[in-house]
């Protein structure tokens, strides 16, 4: 890592995280460069930066995953460092190496540490060497080894991709009959997603919690931890609600997990910000993986430790030494609002931001790129906004979350805000009875209230009659006609329903 002062930072990402990084860079007095695909030319991260450069067509593979185009943009703009955000190229050892070779600073761990963390099979072996507990499993996944592992440990078993991430390449096998096809499907998915079809197998824990530890390492060999985050509320193996501290971790367990996380990070010479993920069952914990990047859910740690993790990342990339973190206080909860149809198995949704109202108030932070008039396209991850609530204790943070989610309004794209509100408001969540099975328990009985669906149907009919679909240019508030009057006023006492 080339340790020198950063003056101009290129942010190789989009959406809320690009905006969030640009904001910190600006506060630190750095010049900022945004990059954008052809679909994102008018996005808020592009307008927020000091300059912006196009890097390719809408497809991520040709733009935000196009390492050469991004490095070229950095060199052309005179940037001296690249922050990769999360996702896209953030955990690519090849990208990190290419950035350094171009004479630029990569804001993240070294290519070697990224390789060590990214190979889940290698990381498992490392954990075993360092003495960190791992879930029973095997690092080969041919059908014969898989059969004998299942025979010895019992079903269900979990097949995972060695290069995995984002829930892809994962299969749960409950019985022998489904084993062969699951192995094939997982390998196919892993090959397509990561260009690496290697798999490994673990015993499936039915109701674990997912708890992770934030770590930071500097260029002088020091590694520190900044508490844990509980991330058990997931759908499709992807987190949707996170909180810190975990309501289910005792001080003794926390101390053991932090020791394990710091030991693992130190063993790979980890620099910059990273996260060590564990599965927890009772007082037992098992190493899952190292996420060698800034996490989506980093704000809950920032609120508890009163720090700016992106600023810390930038200082660490400049070679500055770590100082001891402040003592954590209070409780923080993050809810990820996605462009998805919760009632339809979280199917992706897209559309224009026709109306927007963002929550505010004491203890409320909203990290988002939502702006009226922009189009939510299907090219990228559907994360729209993160609502982060801080409270003196868990109950205050929880009540603030419920209240703030009630203020969130977005028309034009289906989103998950009301589902998240109902989860956080539920008695089971309030009790802290969390596990990775929470959403699949909760979803079948969930639906919007009857009165809301009916009111929405009536308003839809009024809107349709006021402005027939098909004549609208793109998105048009149904509540106003060309003279700015609302259809409700315009329609007044008229009878306009089709009569039979």
């Amino acid at each position: 890592m080339s340790a020198r002062k950063i003056k101009k930072l290129l942010v190789a990402n989009r959406g809320e995280i690009a905006l969030r990084i640009i904001r910190t860079a600006r506060v630190m007095g750095l010049q900022t460069v945004a990059v954008f695909s052809a679909a994102d030319a008018a996005m808020p991260h592009v307008t927020a930066a000091d300059e912006a450069r196009p890097i390719g067509p809408p497809e991520a593979l040709l733009s935000y995953l196009n390492a050469a185009a991004i490095i070229e943009a950095a060199l052309a703009s005179g940037a001296d460092a690249i922050h990769p955000g999360y996702g896209f190229l953030s955990e690519s050892p090849a990208f990190a190496a290419a950035v350094e070779e171009a004479g630029l600073t990569f804001v993240g761990p070294s290519a070697a540490a990224l390789s060590a963390a990214g190979d889940k099979v290698g990381a498992r072996q490392l954990a075993r060497r360092v003495g960190v507990p791992i879930v029973a499993g095997i690092e080969t996944a041919d059908i014969a080894s898989a059969r004998s592992f299942a025979a010895a440990n019992g079903y269900p078993i979990m097949i995972k991709a060695a290069a995995g991430g984002g829930g892809r390449g994962i299969r749960v096998v409950v019985a022998e009959g489904a084993l062969a096809s699951a192995l094939e499907a997982a390998a196919r998915e892993a090959q397509a997603a990561f260009n690496d079809g290697r798999l490994f197998i673990e015993k499936y824990l039915a109701r674990p919690r997912h708890v992770e530890v934030q770590v930071l390492g500097d260029a002088h060999g020091r590694v520190i931890a900044m508490g844990e985050r509980e991330c058990s509320i997931q759908r499709r193996h992807q987190k949707i609600i996170e909180e810190s501290p975990s309501p289910g971790v005792t001080p003794a367990l926390r101390a053991r997990m932090i020791e394990a996380a710091v030991g693992l990070a130190a063993a790979v010479g980890y620099q910059n910000a990273g996260t060590v993920e564990f599965l927890v069952e009772g007082e037992g914990f098992y190493f899952l993986e190292i996420n060698a990047r800034l996490q989506v859910e980093h704000p809950i740690t920032e609120l508890r430790f009163d720090c700016d993790l992106v600023a810390l990342q930038l200082r660490l990339a400049q070679g500055e030494p770590l100082t001891a973190p402040s003592s954590p206080r209070g409780h923080a909860i993050e809810c990820r609002i996605y462009a998805e149809d919760a009632g339809n198995d979280f199917r992706p949704a897209a559309g224009p931001v026709a109306y927007l109202q963002l929550p505010a108030g004491p203890g409320i932070r909203v990290d988002t790129f939502l702006t009226p008039g922009i189009e939510i396209s299907s090219y990228y991850d559907g994360l729209l906004a993160k609502l982060i609530a801080y409270g003196y204790d868990r109950e205050e943070a929880r009540r603030r979350t419920v209240s703030a989610l009630g203020e969130f309004m977005l028309t034009g794209v289906l989103h998950t805000a009301s589902f998240l509100r109902d989860v956080v408001a539920s008695e089971r969540f309030a009790r802290g009875d969390l596990s990775t099975g929470f959403v699949s328990d909760f979803l079948p009985a969930w639906s919007p209230p009857e009165e809301s669906i009916k009111a929405a149907a009536v308003l839809a009919a009024v809107a349709a009659q006021a402005g027939p679909a098909g004549t609208a240019p793109r998105a048009r508030p149904a509540a106003e006609d060309s003279r700015g009057r609302s259809p409700w006023e315009r329609l007044g006492p008229l009878n306009f329903g089709s009569r039979r």
Partner: protein, 171 residues
């Protein structure tokens, strides 16, 4: 008019009799009233479920989107057949629910499909979504090919719905 809500997959027959500050409508034949007040930003303040809540409705190209506070709904107008008689539930023209890539087309033109049969798989936001037949039908036309990028609302497949109450003579 007949509307289908995408999340709950419920259908409503809505006739609006009167607009204004009290909207009078018949929902599936049952009269209902909605007290509403227009707000400066184009939203409405309505009374719903015993509390006051902000609402907004917008007409998009292929659907009507409505927010009731943090709840979001998407309605698609359903066409009624010529004679006014109700067709089977099949939406005759299958359109893309979101922009994305056509991964797989699992039917052929002229083929018969049954309710729930997968027709087409699309990829959007790094996820696969399979669209299935809502009722028995014959595939009239396939408008897209595998690998093609499509916009939201693009016609994917046209179906000729078969009356599920009648025996299918063309087997």
């Amino acid at each position: 008019m007949k509307l289908r809500e995408s999340g709950t997959r419920r259908q409503f027959e809505v006739e609006v009799d009167r607009g204004g500050s009290v909207i009078e409508a018949r929902l599936d034949g049952t009269p209902s009233e909605l007290v509403n007040q227009t707000l400066g930003d184009g939203a409405m303040l309505i009374e719903c479920g015993g509390s006051r809540v902000r609402a907004f409705a917008a007409v998009l190209r292929d659907s009507i989107v409505v927010s009731i506070g943090p709840q979001s709904f998407r309605f698609t107008p359903l066409l009624e057949s010529r004679a006014g008689a109700r067709r089977s539930l099949t939406t005759p023209i299958l359109t893309a629910p979101m922009p994305g890539k056509v991964l797989r087309v699992m039917v052929v033109e002229g083929g018969l499909v049954e309710i729930g049969q997968p027709l087409i798989t699309m990829e959007a936001m790094k996820m696969e979504t399979t669209l299935s037949a809502e009722g028995p039908a014959r595939v009239k036309r396939i408008a897209v090919s595998e690998g093609q990028m499509v916009d939201a609302g693009a016609v994917l497949i046209e179906l000729s719905p078969l009356d599920s109450s009648k025996p299918q003579s063309d087997h």
